[in-house]
Amino acid sequence: MLVITCPYCGPRPEIEFAHGGEAHIARPQDPSSLGVEDWTEFLYMRANPKGLHAERWRHLHGCARFFNALRDTTTDQFVATYRTGEPRPDLAAVKA
């Protein structure tokens, strides 16, 4: 079982967590002025990278808070977790 570090509760078993999709996708400020293409881009288009991916996770069966995580999609390793609202950690700093 994976151990995921919740930024509030600390290391916890993965069964307490729920995945919440890609992180850092800002909702458009003025949706009604958006064209179909742009709206589609916001709603459906995701990075889907091979490697490090910034994701939203929710500690559903713990503190129930959303937070963000950097996960390697090839190894499933959680490189870093950080609270919602904080910037994505610097990659070089994470690897160090």
Binding site: Y8, C9, R12, P13, H61, G62, C63, R65
Partner: protein, 183 residues
């Protein structure tokens, strides 16, 4: 369901006495879920008589009343049956954004008090229940087998479990099965 609760019946009556040493139903309690940010800490402390825990996964309390940290802005308040806090809390907190929801009948309490309590719980719970990792006074929502519980360690070998009442029967049977491994 409401008539079942009104009659004072517990989910454990249907178990026909199925039990094991150290496993018991907790006394009837009044329960609230309190949510709010830092602005509610001082007025709530005045009502409760002690400060809410602000450290993650910790409980504070007096003899009668207890506050369990569930999230950064969420607490479970436990007090003896009939000790109603909602009006006093709402009055004290005033205009600061908050929510107080009574959940007394949503969940029931189970007490596991036996020398191998941590080992029995480990059968269904993935948390590290070693005293160093889960000290006395620690509380958290977590999973036990397929059901969500609030687990609270009140003594080295004493755990209080809060579970939604419709899951209580399942949890109780699972704990008895788990205990059988250590009989």
């Amino acid at each position: 369901m409401s008539d079942v609760i009104a009659a004072g019946r517990t989910p454990f009556e249907a178990l026909n006495g199925l039990s094991m040493p150290g496993l018991s139903a907790a006394p009837d309690r009044t329960r609230y879920i309190l949510r709010g940010r830092a602005g509610i800490l001082a007025p709530v402390a005045e009502v409760l008589g002690f400060a809410l825990p602000t450290d993650a996964c910790r409980a504070t309390g007096s003899d009668q009343r207890h506050a369990l940290w569930l999230g950064p802005d969420e607490w479970l308040l436990l007090s003896p049956a009939g000790d109603r806090l909602d009006k006093a809390l709402a009055f004290a907190i005033g205009d600061v954004a908050h929510s107080v929801v009574e959940v007394s009948h949503r969940q029931v309490g189970i007490v596991l008090d036996r020398p191998d309590a941590a080992a029995v719980l480990s059968v269904g719970c993935a948390l590290d229940l070693d005293l160093a990792a889960f000290p006395v006074g620690m509380c958290t929502r977590t999973m036990f087998a397929k059901t969500e519980i609030v687990l609270w360690r009140t003594g080295e070998n004493v755990f209080q479990i809060e579970v939604w009442r419709s899951f209580a029967d399942y949890l109780w049977r699972y704990l008895v099965l788990a205990g059988a491994e250590f009989a």
